[in-house]
Structure formats: structure tokens, C-alpha cells
Symmetry: none
Subunit: 411 residues, 2 copies
């Protein structure tokens, strides 16, 4: 029941691009008990794609080809797979109509080369693509299944999720793989490992993996069992120990992002939020508003990069900045209190800091960030020194602000 | 003169780890004029590694195997390659001494399995590894060269740099590979292809690739020539035609992002910018402030999610929203003009729209976005209907706003 993933695209053979779809696919296939044995990356070249597909057909039961389904001349996956499998292509009028409609809906003329995407190999099932014009394809031949998926990750994930999962579940014998993901904030990967290694070392089911991500550390537990409740019991046995060791540092056990957790807490308590950001430049607002329905609790905020705007938009007294500097505890407090007062939000957050690369000094180095939270009980403020470059400092600061809100709402 | 990279390691077939060595290697090989045609990833399995190496020997001149040279039982690359090439292994006493010395120097006993690393296939050259215990191997056979490199990136890069580069330069005839990247905005991938395919179809040097990225379409031209100026001439010949066909739609030829281009134009013209965002929730501000030094021209902005804040922070008259709705041309205009007036910026931008998933109606569907730009000449406003989900609508809207600013600054 082994799978092989073939990523098609010349850009994936340059130093600038990497195939990431296979990580998503591996995760999904593993959950069904299917192991990925080979991954191959090949350019937009008819002969070479054919070689790779033929090789895969000799050795794998599941062959997933990603990319090369687009409308352009160098999108060849559909044609080459049809040729290798000896299945002539014909135009599918339903797909044609769907593509025409997509263009019509956004009021644009359809370039004729888009019709390539309506070509279907004989006997293939089409996998509807709600996110784009290129449908996926599912072809069974001689015991093997060849699945073609569009390359853009959101299209690939949408097609796989809505069209492939059920089909796969019908064919694959049921062994259950269940994953529990703990998300941790405010600790380094090595600290997390140091604390939980004594717990997980004695288990090989679940398998434990610790992962550093831009949004914190994740602890993945993967249990394999005959059924759901057996898998859950295995997860609970080790998971409970990890939860009690990590305590408050775990902000999510169900895969939620921290902005989702914060949003849920705010909605539950009928509280509203407004933010005044300087060094994060809108990142905190942007993260909060990624959550659908965030307009129910997030009123808005200001990005006050200049000192004048800190006064103008968040009511920070000019004298305060003259006295303490724009990057200071009092200014963070004034931003939080000011934006709360101006917007009437239950909670106001203020961020000021030095993201770099320029602007640092000995006393106030790059990475220095003050974050304040104002609510009906008063204003709390914290000082942080974040490592890394501009992007990292901004990301760390936005995450720290979300974590301050989360902790405040829990208390 | 084509190369193939084989990454060995079961961890590279999980959802959590990715082969990154191949990006480094591709960069180095390209600089020598060697193209990477295939990348394969295979687990620590004797039979499967053998299949992959045999396949590579049939189709590639340069075969680089990374990983699987360590001391443990599941490090199999050395043995399998020796077997496939029919070259018995023997112990190299110099390597053995070097490994023993390494352990002695840190005062540790050498685990006996480390001696596996002193095994060398007959006729292979050893590539010294200054960063670790596993040496690389260089094996020439029947016109092909098989290079084995250790998996840890530091070790791989050190061995490649110090041992492989000179060897390669002696063998490879000097050819240069140069890349030019055009970034395009406001057009679909298929439209770009439709317009430039007639131009690039008659060239196979440079090679043209069209790429859809979250931040627009990229056109990559890669030219191969004997030296820099010949490569540049080839790039210019096709590139000039593409530039004159795509005209204004090309916003960058040197790899710059659109926020960098906008920032450069603003700085050059001593103009300042402020934004009032609704549906993009801070994304536009966040993109603008990714650029180091953006505080020189970006004053800041407001994220006014609620109607009250549109009035409070950007001075949008309440009556305007009552009459036209918050998502409307007049409100976008009022946001742009209001934030410009309040902040004293040269340019004010206002965005209002429906990002979804909820909030759409028949008249005002999800994806409807109005973007306005106010400057000393007045206020222009555009209506957009963006496809896709919440994330896509927000991203499209922020990109469209950046593009409006860019065009305004060029005029």
C-alpha cells in the first residue's frame, strides 16, 4: 500500500523553490496508514516526466503527481500521464463550462489555452477544484491509482480534502493513526524537549515529535491503533503527563492558532479588542483578522509608525515621547490606554519597539519591544528582548502580544 | 552534463522534515552550468536506495547522493552504492585513524559502529570532512560520476566547497547560467502566458518559466552561455521583447517585491503614505512595513473594522455609511481622504470590502472590494471582485492597493 509523490515543475529544480505539497500529502496519507516511499521532483519536460511516471508505475501502488495541470504550454502532467497510460484525451464539456463560468464571474475573457484544462484522459475521474480552474484527475490502472493534483497548495489541499479523502478511505483498510498537537508559546525547542523527554522516552506508541515553527513550538503525538478509542486512550496516557508538565505554556491542544484561541476567549466573554501597533506595523491586526468572524470582537486599531501618529491616532502625549523616547514602557502604556479610550474597547494593546535592522542603540538595541495591555483593571506592561532579524522580531512581538491577551483573559 | 540529486533518509519522507541540501547543491551546480534534472528522496531502505541509484545511473551524468553516511545501522548509502557499482568495500586505515583521533580529542570512546565510516568502495576517492566523522566519496564509472555527501548541511557544504568544487571545475567545460526574473501584477498566469508564449516559444536559450506566486506572476528567464556578457546578451534579447509586450504590468525586474518598489518610489519622490484598512485588517500596513527603512515614508494607518472606528479614526461621516453601506465607493473614498487629512500624508489609501466567508449578499458578494487613493490631485477609486476565500481576498486586495500606489507614483 505504498505511495510515491511526483512533483512536476522546473521551478522546483532551481535553488529558489521547494516542493512543500508533499509534506501536506504525506501527513494525510500517513493518517490513512499509507507510507510514502519515494518522492521525485522533475522539470516541465515531456520525456523526463514520462520516465518518472513509468518508474513509479513499476514500484508504487499510489502515485500522486502534483503540478503541471495549469493552462500554459509547459504544463504537461495531464498529457504525459495520458500517454504513458495509453489513454487518449478528450474534452469534458462540464469542465469547459465551469472554467468559462469562472472567468465570466470575474468579468474577464478566457484565454483559449485555458481549455487545455478541460482535457481528460479516457476513463479518468475528474476531481473538482473549487479554488482554481485546473481539476484534478483520478485514474485506476492495473492495481495502481494515479492521482493528479494542481500545484498551488490551496488548490491541491482543497481538491485532496474534498475529493480524494473519501475515495481513499473506501479503498484503504482501516488502521487508525491519530495525532494530538500541543502548541506551546514562550519556550525554546530545547527547553520543551528537556522537560518532556523523560515522559515520552518510554513510549514508542504514540510517537512524539517536537517541531519549531514560526508561531511557537509544537509537540506532535501520533498513535496507531485498531480503532479510534484505542488510539485516543494511547494519546491520553502520554498526553495527560505532558499537559501537566507544560501547564500554562500550552495554549492549544486542538490545532487552534493562538489568534483563534484569543478570539474564542474574547467572544465567550463578550469582550472587544483594539490595538495600537508601532514596530509590528499591522501584523498583530492582520493576525487577529485572519480569523473569520473576528469583526465580532476586534474593533480595529492603528498602525502608528511616526511619533505624530502616536499622538494623533492613539493620544500619546508628545511630552511622554520627548522624555522617555518612543520605544519605552510609558509610551507602550499610553498606546494601550489611548487606543482603548478612543475606541471604547474592553481591552487595548500597545506595542512599541525596534524591529531593526537600523534604529538600535546600546541602551535600546534591535529586538527591544514593550507591550502593554489596558483593561478595566488598569495597564500592565512587559519588556521583551527578541532575537533575530526584522521579520523575527515583528513575529515574536505579535505572538507575545497575543499570549499576553490570552493570559489576561484566562485569569 | 545533467545532474540528479538523491536525498537518502526516512525522516525526509515524514510531514515534518524537508530536504534543503538540494537547494544549496542546485545553486552551486547551476553556477557551473550543470542543470539538475531530477531530485529523488528515498528512505533508509537497502532495496529502495538501490532502485533509485540504478535508475539514476541510466539517465544522469552527475549523481549526488546526500545522507546515509553516518555510523548507524540505518545509514546505508555507502554500502548500497558500492553494491550497485559492483565495487567491494575495504577499510581505509587513514580514515580509521582520523575518526579515532576525533573521538580521542573530545575524550570519548569511539562506538565500534563508527568504523563503518572508514569503509571505502574500491577505486573511490575520499572527500575529507572537516566538520564530522563521515567522509564523502567520489566515484567515476562509465562516464558517470557518483558523489556521496554527508547529510548534515554544515558537513555537506564544507565537503562540497573544499573537495568537490575544484574537481568539478576541472572536468566541466565553463558555461554560465544566468537568471532574470520579471514580476507581473494584475494578470492571471494564463493571460501572461498567452501574451508572451509567441515570444519565448522560438527560444530554447533562455529557458522561460511562468510561475504563479501569492504575490503575483513571475516570469523566469534562464540563459546559458560561455561567459557573463554572452548570457546577459541572451537574456536581453528575449527579455526586451517580453518587457515591451508586458509594459506597465511588470513591476520588478531585479527581484524586488512590490512593497519594496512602492517604498523606493515613495522615498525617491519624498512622499509619505498612510492607509485606512477595513477588510484587509492590517495586511497592507504589515506588507509595507516589512521593508527595512519603511518608517521614512510610511506614517502609519488605521485598521477600522467597525463602522464606529471608520468615523473615529478616519473621519468617515456616519451618514455616508448609512446611505451607501460600509462597503461602497464613497466610503473607500472617505477612508482614503480622511486618513490623508488626519495624518498629513502625501498619499492616503482606503480599503473596504467583504473578505468572507460571511457578510456577503447578492448585491455585495464576498470578494467585492473598493480601494481608493487620495493625493493632492484628488481621490481615485476602483472596484474589484476578487475570487477565492478570505485569505485570498485579503491578499489580492492588499496587492491591488500596492499596485494602485505604484501606478500613481509612476504617472
Amino acid at each position: 500500500m505504498d505511495a510515491e509523490i511526483i512533483a512536476v515543475g522546473s521551478e522546483l529544480l532551481t535553488p529558489f523553490r521547494q516542493d512543500t505539497n508533499s509534506l501536506y500529502l504525506t501527513d494525510k496519507l500517513n493518517a490513512l496508514g499509507i507510507e510514502v516511499r519515494y518522492k521525485t521532483i522533475v522539470g516541465d519536460d515531456r520525456a523526463r516526466i514520462a520516465v518518472v511516471v513509468r518508474t513509479a508505475l513499476e514500484r508504487s501502488r499510489w502515485i500522486i503527481v502534483t503540478g503541471g495541470l495549469g493552462p500554459t504550454e509547459d504544463d504537461l502532467s495531464r498529457e504525459v500521464v495520458a500517454e504513458v497510460l495509453g489513454r487518449p484525451l478528450h474534452e469534458d464539456s462540464r469542465i469547459r463550462r465551469r472554467i468559462e463560468l469562472r472567468f465570466a464571474r470575474v468579468g474577464r475573457a478566457m484565454p483559449p489555452n485555458n481549455l487545455r484544462q478541460a482535457q481528460v484522459p479516457e476513463g479518468a475521474e475528474c476531481l473538482e477544484n473549487k479554488m482554481g480552474t485546473a481539476p484534478g484527475l483520478w485514474i485506476e490502472q492495473g492495481g495502481a491509482v494515479v492521482i493528479l493534483l494542481p500545484g498551488p497548495p490551496r488548490e491541491l489541499e482543497s481538491v485532496f480534502e474534498s475529493q480524494c479523502l473519501t475515495r481513499l478511505e473506501l479503498i484503504v483498510p482501516r488502521t487508525i493513526l491519530r495525532t494530538r498537537i500541543y502548541k506551546v508559546i514562550g519556550l525554546a525547542e530545547s527547553e520543551v524537549d528537556h522537560r518532556i523527554a523523560p515522559l515520552y522516552n518510554s513510549y514508542n506508541n504514540p510517537v512524539t515529535t517536537i517541531l519549531a515553527t514560526p508561531n511557537g513550538i509544537e509537540i506532535h503525538l501520533r498513535a496507531r491503533a485498531a480503532d479510534d478509542s484505542a488510539a485516543e486512550a494511547l494519546l491520553a496516557e502520554l498526553g495527560d503527563k505532558i499537559e501537566s508538565e507544560m501547564g500554562e505554556s500550552i495554549f492549544s491542544t486542538g490545532g487552534e492558532t493562538i489568534e483563534e484561541v484569543v478570539g474564542r476567549h474574547l467572544a465567550l466573554r463578550h469582550k472587544t479588542l483594539a490595538v495600537a501597533e508601532s514596530c509590528t506595523g499591522g501584523l498583530l491586526s492582520e493576525q487577529l483578522t485572519r480569523v473569520a468572524g473576528s469583526s465580532n470582537y476586534f474593533l480595529g486599531g492603528t498602525v502608528c509608525y511616526s511619533n505624530e501618529l502616536k499622538t494623533q491616532l492613539a493620544g500619546v502625549p508628545g511630552g511622554l515621547m520627548a522624555e522617555h523616547g518612543a520605544v519605552s514602557k510609558p509610551v507602550a502604556q499610553a498606546l494601550a490606554a489611548g487606543i482603548r479610550r478612543r475606541t471604547g474597547a474592553s481591552i487595548g494593546v500597545g506595542i512599541t519597539g525596534i524591529a531593526g535592522p537600523a534604529g538600535g542603540s546600546e541602551n535600546k538595541p534591535v529586538g527591544l519591544v514593550f507591550i502593554a495591555l489596558a483593561d478595566e483593571l488598569g495597564v500592565q506592561v512587559r519588556e521583551f528582548r527578541f532575537p533575530g532579524d526584522r521579520d523575527r522580531v515583528r513575529l515574536h512581538a505579535a505572538m507575545a502580544a497575543l499570549e499576553m491577551i490570552r493570559r489576561r483573559l484566562r485569569d
